[in-house]
């Protein structure tokens, strides 16, 4: 055993305990009294209990030493030499333990500062990007401002869809389906460039959904997932290939003209599940709490509760409870996938994520990577305990660059300094390509492409098409819409009237979670164009108010209102109403009222008579002018027949379609 230069006569310079094994298991020699407490500062932590039991000689005998590691012992922590005036304060101890020079456990080699800093910087970066993501998500809502002039066009001040614009998988999918890169999606080149430089740093450092999984794996690990079980769970598994095949399947579908892969894009999943599920659920709890506070009838409690509600309405959610049609499934899926972290850390990232696998394929060109020296590895598996990507950082196997998130945990944990990340590594112990079979790649791509016609036979945009599929204003024609819509739910989140909802099966299986307008819950605000502003792929085009309202041109219509005269109060029940006409936003109004005088039976029998008296009543009966109706659904929303409104909107006559047309004058096959 090489002579590890321990302090000449001092207290033992013991290695720190290994987290999952506890303190180094050495037994205090029986023939010596325990050293005095003042000399045992090297341990750093009073709780580990090892310092007082182990003598200096025992330490020097049993510490395994790596070459070149010796010098480190001379640093600040050589307690015996000077006559110390006062023992260090508890703060100084804490500071030294936290930020002072550290030695790698086991070997005692000094830890390299850069790696310690990088591992911490990664946590900061993850937290910051998750914070920005949530900030943008909460800001994906129109909240007015006192500072804007009345005539100022209403747009969101922040690029709330930025994470989607930077998403290379979204860009690739929509490029394959539309053969164009839409506007801001060019930003995805930034993440692409980062991947080509450093590998999947996006997954380890940036991805908010990945951070969520990282966080949940850390805070709620199963109590069985410790020690050797954790090591086993973090070894590379064959099923990690699944995400590549899934990704190729989605790219195949994109080639066939469908951006259905957005269903599993992590940013889309995060926006959809948090924006449409988690935030409204929290809001529900908040409003319930406010109701309880209001019922207290104590003015101070009510005022405090009102203030709290106002604060959250201005920052996290909006003034009124948001509802989203059929989101239970989206939320269940989120909970299930977060729960998987208890069993397999970052299960989503390893098994399913199509963006991660897309970057995994690209990371073969990365000029940054890992080198490891198997000869020096002691197979302690500490790297595996902390591994995020299950990318085989341990000894005896080759590292998998395509699976690695470049989180630096393994290099930080390695007690022997075996693992080193560097530019242009020698790749002797590295696999850069995903472990895939060419035939299966081909087969899954073809299967993805073949699925699209199969799905569309059931729901062809020109035939058998549900009248409930009312697309947001500015949406492109349905076939192109499906080429572009990635189901990211940005439009639904931003809609100020809660009008847009994720479709369940209204638009067919392929149209799952694409946006549809449900006027019963909210109508399309006449001069609002925010859904187009936030759409990252151009499924909803960035129209302006003039185009939407039809100033000097034809307005954009998303459907047409129809009356169910058997349910309408003035039509069927001799009762005045026409709220629909009041709310109709066009000028002249698309809903017009006909004045009629009709018989009405009084609700009581005449005195002494056998019949109820008949009178007449003047009512206004509403009609729709289909050439003016824009299908906004305001009439349906405000109809007092709440359950099944007497006026309802269907997508008939929508501007974007050449076939779903009512009027001859709008028909054009040009």
């Amino acid at each position: 055993m090489a002579q590890h230069s321990h302090p000449a006569a001092g207290a033992p310079e013991l290695p720190s305990p290994i987290p999952w094994l506890g303190a180094p298991g050495r037994v205090a020699p029986l023939d010596r009294p325990p050293p005095p407490a003042s000399k045992s500062g090297g341990c750093g932590s009073g709780s580990c209990g090892c310092a007082s039991k182990v003598s200096a000689s025992a330490a020097s005998e049993s510490v395994p030493t790596a070459a070149g590691g010796g010098g480190g012992g001379a640093s600040a922590s050589s307690p015996p030499a000077p006559k110390k005036a006062a023992p260090p304060s508890s703060f100084a101890k804490w500071w030294k333990k936290r930020f002072g020079p550290r030695k790698l456990p086991g070997s005692g080699i000094p830890a390299r500062k850069v790696i310690r800093v990088l591992a911490k910087a990664r946590v900061v970066s993850q937290a910051a990007f998750l914070g920005v993501f949530l900030w943008f998500l909460f800001a994906t809502a129109f909240r007015g401002t006192f500072s804007a002039e009345a005539g100022k066009a209403i747009r969101l001040p922040l690029p709330v869809e930025a994470f989607l614009l930077a998403d290379p998988f979204v860009a690739a999918m929509t490029f394959l389906s539309t053969h164009t890169v839409y506007r801001g999606l060019a930003w995805s080149l930034v993440i692409l460039a980062l991947t080509l430089l450093f590998g999947r740093v996006f997954c380890g450092w940036i991805c908010p959904f990945g951070t969520l999984h990282h966080f949940f794996g850390w805070i709620f690990p199963s109590r069985y997932l410790k020690g050797n079980k954790r090591v086993e769970a973090n070894k590379t598994k064959g099923w990690q290939r699944g995400k590549y095949y899934l990704m190729f399947g989605f790219l195949g579908a994109a080639l066939a003209g469908s951006a259905v892969g957005g269903l599993l894009d992590p940013i889309c999943v995060a926006v959809r599940a948090i924006g449409l599920g988690v935030v409204p659920a929290l809001q529900y709890l908040g409003i319930r709490g406010a109701t309880v506070a209001a019922d207290s009838n104590v003015k101070a409690i009510q005022t405090a509760s009102d203030g709290t509600q106002d604060f959250f309405a201005q920052t996290v959610w909006t003034a009124n409870q948001a509802y989203f049609h059929q989101t239970w499934f989206i939320v269940f899926a989120l909970i299930a996938i977060l729960f998987m972290n208890r069993i397999i850390p970052r299960f989503w990232c390893r098994a399913l994520c199509p963006l991660g696998s897309f970057l995994g394929v690209l990371s073969r060109f990365s000029i940054f990577g890992m080198e490891k020296d198997h000869a020096k590895c002691t197979d302690c598996n500490l790297c595996l305990v902390h591994c995020q990507g299950a990318d085989s950082p341990q000894g005896g196997v080759k590292h998998r660059q395509d699976e690695c998130f470049v989180c630096f945990n393994c290099e930080d944990a390695c007690p022997e300094d075996v693992i080193k990340f560097k530019f242009l590594p020698n790749r002797k112990s590295e696999v850069v390509k995903p472990d895939l079979q060419r035939r299966t790649v081909l087969a899954t791509t073809v299967a993805g492409a073949a699925a699209i016609p199969a799905l569309r036979i059931a729901n062809w945009p020109d035939r058998a098409y549900s009248e409930k599929v009312i697309r947001p204003p500015g949406s492109v024609e349905e076939r192109e819409f499906l080429e572009r819509c990635i189901r990211c739910a940005e439009c639904m989140k931003v809609c100020p009237n809660n009008a847009l909802h994720p479709a369940f099966f209204e638009a067919g299986l392929e149209g799952l979670w694409t946006p549809i307008l449900v006027p019963r819950i909210g109508y399309c605000e006449f001069s609002c164009v925010l859904c187009g502003q936030v759409c990252p792929t151009g499924a909803i085009q960035k129209i302006d108010e003039k185009q939407k309202m039809g100033v000097g041109q034809k307005p954009i219509s998303i459907g047409t209102a129809m009356y169910d005269q058997g349910r309408c109060l003035p039509w069927a029940m001799a009762t005045p109403c026409i709220v629909c006409e009041e709310f109709c936003p066009t000028s002249p109004k698309a809903i017009w009222a006909e004045n009629v005088e009709i018989p009405k039976r009084e609700s009581k029998y005449e005195a002494g008579g056998e019949h109820a008296k008949m009178t007449t009543i003047k009512v206004q009966r509403p009609h729709v002018d289909p050439s003016l109706c824009i299908g906004c659904g305001a009439c349906e929303k405000v109809c007092p027949i709440v359950d099944k409104p007497a006026v309802y909107v269907s997508n008939a006559g929508e501007t974007r379609s050449k076939t779903n047309v009512i009027l001859l004058e709008n028909t054009s096959y040009s």
């Binding site: 129109f142 005045p576 026409i578 109004k589």
Partner: protein
């Protein structure tokens, strides 16, 4: 075979007894006997009265039409009734209720002119108000209505507290009107010392004209759409419930058709009038003439007069023109 000790036997019996007793007590406390609770309607109407005592000789209505500046007109009209100091005392919380119902710009004349509202805020502060609240329960999306009406910007700049409607600000209240009883009422409007109604005169297809009395629709939450089935009595009920300190009707620009939203610049016309009044009915009767309607055909005016809210024949009301 050994039997258990007396101590343990007593302990077990005690635990079982406590569990049974606890369940019985809980059941007693939470027992629901079923059936309906019949709400008993008392006949007396609820009123929120914010009026100040009328001075003997002062006019009831002031029509300002001698300027084209909205702020100027507003000030003149209020001054002609004795000035804001007559209505607002030092330290008062003043709620101003403009019409901010629609996502329209000032030029469309669907909402109250922001200059009129701003001038009222300024006058209230000058008269010593501690806090001036500007709010309305909008029809369209409130953020858009408040921003695009220009009222948010104009009044916030003067230090007014602009409150946007949100679910938690409505509390259920019994109004005990003819058709309106239990409704969610917008609390910022009733939790004030003084209330100024600041409507805009507009066309409305069902009620023919909308101004001061119908502006109280903005007092209600819930599904207001049912009110249309008996719109005139609803309006009368609301105006009976809410007696403002002062009504200032904005007729600087009025909507003549396609009401109450308008939407087309050609639907509105500049009139350059502001009318301050202590009589909600009279000001509406006068306002209806401005959009070319006869007060007699606006039914809720007669109802208001019947209930003693004011005079539908506005010509008989003591008034000044400035």
């Amino acid at each position: 075979m050994s039997s258990i000790s007396r101590r343990e036997a007593l302990g077990r019996l005690g635990a079982a007894g406590a569990a049974l007793g606890g369940s019985a007590l809980l059941a007693k406390l939470a027992w629901d006997r079923g059936g309906f609770d019949v709400s008993r309607l008392e006949s007396e109407r609820q009123v929120r009265d914010f009026q100040v005592k009328a001075a003997e000789a002062a006019p009831v209505m002031a029509i300002a039409k001698s300027s084209t500046d909205a702020a100027d007109l507003t000030r003149k009209a209020v001054d002609a009734l004795g000035g804001m100091k007559r209505f607002v005392s030092r330290g008062d919380v003043v709620a101003i209720k403009p019409n901010i119902g629609w996502d329209r710009m000032p030029v469309h004349a669907a909402n109250t002119n922001p200059l009129v509202v701003a001038e009222l805020v300024r006058l209230a502060f000058d008269a010593g108000a501690a806090r001036v609240v500007v709010t309305d329960a909008s029809c369209n999306e409130p953020n858009r209505c408040f921003q695009r009406s220009g009222i948010w910007r104009a009044t916030h700049a003067l230090g007014a507290t602009v409150i946007l409607p949100a679910a938690h600000r409505f509390r259920e209240l019994r109004m005990k009107g003819d058709v309106l009883d239990l409704w969610p009422v917008y609390t910022p409007l009733v939790n004030a010392d003084k209330v100024i109604n600041a409507p805009v005169a507009k066309h409305h297809n069902l009620s023919k004209y909308t101004g001061a009395m119908k502006n109280w629709y903005g007092l209600l939450g819930g599904r207001r759409n049912r009110l249309h089935q008996n719109i005139d009595v609803s309006i009368a009920d609301l105006a009976t419930f809410m007696r403002p300190t002062l009504t200032v009707l904005d007729a600087t620009r009025v909507l003549l058709r396609n009401g109450p939203q308008g939407g087309n610049i050609d639907d509105a016309k500049d009139l350059h009038q502001v009318i301050a009044s202590l009589d909600q009915v009279a000001v509406d009767a006068y306002g209806s003439t401005l959009i070319g309607e006869k007060p007699a055909s606006v039914k809720y005016l007669a109802m208001g007069e019947e209930r003693g809210l004011g005079k539908a024949s506005w010509e008989q009301v003591p008034r000044v023109e400035v």
